[in-house]
């Protein structure tokens, strides 16, 4: 296949009148790792939900492997979804099933493979993420990092060519987070997958990214290589990279309030 793996064109998303995504344009080429950066409320999770087809935009196009998932019929969308593996922020493993069954679920649902083949494939996916001997456990019995790796194994189960991670390192200690970064790099090398990662962890972003895109208040303010972003003079990017806090307290409002209060009490 030619052309970008994912192509986002003029995507607008509004939630109850508020523009969460405001005309996003982004191309993600095959085999690259794109890290989507942005603070909380910047719209990065929304963009991710659009890319994996969980929500549809008010306007614009989202092409995944050439299919416009913003407009296509549900049957087509279902087919596209099989080529995208998603690892959710909270792992989203089904607690009612064992880890093994979680990973076997997409295979059981979408293929007519024999049970023995499914077991073998499941074991292989678990081995890739280093959980081969934990298949029989329930997801509750796994640690945070292991859960995330199991979620990656499940995302891999249908051999997708696009892998999407929502905040892979959120809530993990630095060592486990680093392990996960290496896992992402290893997967990319082994299967030459297109990887999209949403994160706000700078260290992790710099380790895994080929290119970075930065969202701020629903718009992409920069897309480029790590070096390009690092040398960018854009004040928001500088603030993000140098960890400079926003002015939180509204001093003018506080002054006004006190003034009113004092005047009110004296009157």
């Amino acid at each position: 296949m030619t052309g970008p793996a994912i192509s986002v064109r003029d995507v607008v998303v509004t939630y109850s009148g508020r523009r969460v995504l405001d005309g996003i344009n982004l191309d993600i080429s095959r085999g690259e790792t794109l890290v989507l950066l942005g603070g909380s409320g910047s719209g990065k999770s929304t963009l991710l939900r659009q890319i994996v087809g969980l929500e549809r935009p008010q306007s614009g196009q989202i092409r995944v492997n050439g299919v416009d998932i913003a407009q296509c019929p549900p049957g087509e969308l279902k087919k596209v979804r099989r080529s995208i593996g998603v690892a959710f922020q909270n792992s989203a493993l089904f607690n009612s099933m064992s880890v093994e069954d979680n990973i076997a679920l997409p295979l059981r649902e979408h293929t007519r493979l024999a049970e023995s083949t499914i077991r073998l494939m499941t074991w292989m996916k678990l081995a890739v993420v280093g959980l081969a001997e934990f298949g029989k456990l329930s997801p509750q019995a796994l640690s945070g990092g292991m859960k995330k790796r199991a979620a990656v194994a499940r995302a891999l189960s249908l051999d997708p060519d696009i892998l999407v991670f929502d905040e892979p390192s959120a809530g993990l200690d630095p060592i486990v987070a680093a392990e996960l970064d290496e896992l992402i790099l290893g997967l990319k090398r082994a299967f030459s997958m297109t990887v999209v990662v949403v994160t706000h962890e700078m260290a992790s972003a710099f380790r895994i990214a080929d290119r970075m895109a930065m969202l701020y208040k629903g718009s992409l303010i920069a897309v480029g290589t790590k070096e390009e972003l690092q040398s960018s003079p854009h004040p928001r990017i500088r603030q993000f990279f140098d960890r400079v806090p926003d002015q939180i307290a509204d001093t003018a409002a506080i002054d006004k309030y006190f003034k009113k209060y004092l005047e009110g009490s004296s009157a």
Partner: protein, 268 residues
């Protein structure tokens, strides 16, 4: 009338209409998915999870539904007897209990018990799946959450509620028999002969039709409340409460509707 009252009435009405619309869409979606849940022709794992649901919704509810029906049967017989005894018409207690249970109390008591036990469980289960992104995960895997989660519950309830209704009707009638034995020394065999004489097939059928409708209400209200959970764990708790309150309310509303229709078309 101030515009704010009109506005509030209007928005409340819109909310209710929207809710009913949501239920209708979900019902249609679930009916389409029900075929894939059936044994032999459908997906085997769906049927397996439907059986699992039948056990939790149906079999586990047996003792509770049975005891509730026995108590209600006793209450009905005692209340009826205290009046009918004065008229010297004790044998009408048998008709009262038999007809009361086959037509009305059997299906209604069962529905209320199941709505409390399982309606809340459905919404809590689905609600927490929404909160933990499991529903989103299903969708990204190309698995329809309504088919995967709701359809097996619906099929199970459609099978199990009529069964529980028959059980509760039987328990209620037997409780009436026990009362008659204690108060008038009527032998159980004689009692049952009277019962058989006053049972009409039509009454049994209307009871079972009601129980199918109640099953639909309980499952769909419970699941819709679950799917609509937004936010955190507190929202799951609220949805479980809303599921029980709304499904019990709608069950009673539907009961009035059905009873009115059966009454008007009865021609007895």
């Amino acid at each position: 009338m101030s515009p704010s009252v009109v506005e509030r009435l209007g928005s409340a009405a819109m909310r209710h209409i929207e809710y009913i619309g949501g239920l209708a869409i979900q019902l249609q979606h679930a009916c389409a998915a029900l075929g894939r849940t059936l044994p032999l022709v459908g997906n085997r794992s769906r049927w397996r999870s439907a059986i699992q649901q039948m056990l939790t919704v149906g079999v586990d509810a047996f003792p509770m539904v049975g005891i509730m029906a026995v108590c209600a049967g006793f209450i009905l017989a005692m209340q009826g007897a205290s009046e009918l005894r004065r008229l010297g018409a004790m044998q009408f207690v048998i008709d009262l209990v038999t007809i009361g249970f086959t037509r009305e109390l059997g299906p209604l008591l069962t529905a209320i018990a199941v709505s409390g036990r399982s309606g809340s469980a459905f919404s809590a289960e689905i609600g927490s799946m929404v909160v933990t992104e499991e529903i989103d995960a299903l969708r990204t895997m190309g698995i329809d959450p309504v088919e995967f989660v709701l359809a097996p519950k619906y099929l199970a309830a459609l099978i199990v509620l009529p069964c529980l209704t028959i059980l509760s009707t039987t328990c209620g009638i037997l409780a009436g028999g026990a009362f008659m034995r204690l108060s008038t020394d009527m032998a159980l065999g004689v009692y049952l002969r009277y019962v058989v004489r006053s049972i009409v097939l039509r009454d049994v059928m209307t009871g079972l039709v009601k129980s199918l409708a109640f099953a639909t209400i309980i499952v769909h209200v419970g699941c819709l409340e679950g799917f609509r959970v937004r936010g955190g764990p507190d929202a799951v708790g609220r949805s479980a409460t809303a599921a029980v309150v709304k499904s019990t309310f709608l069950v009673i509303l539907a009961d009035v509707g059905f009873t009115a229709v059966f009454y008007l078309t009865g021609g007895k």
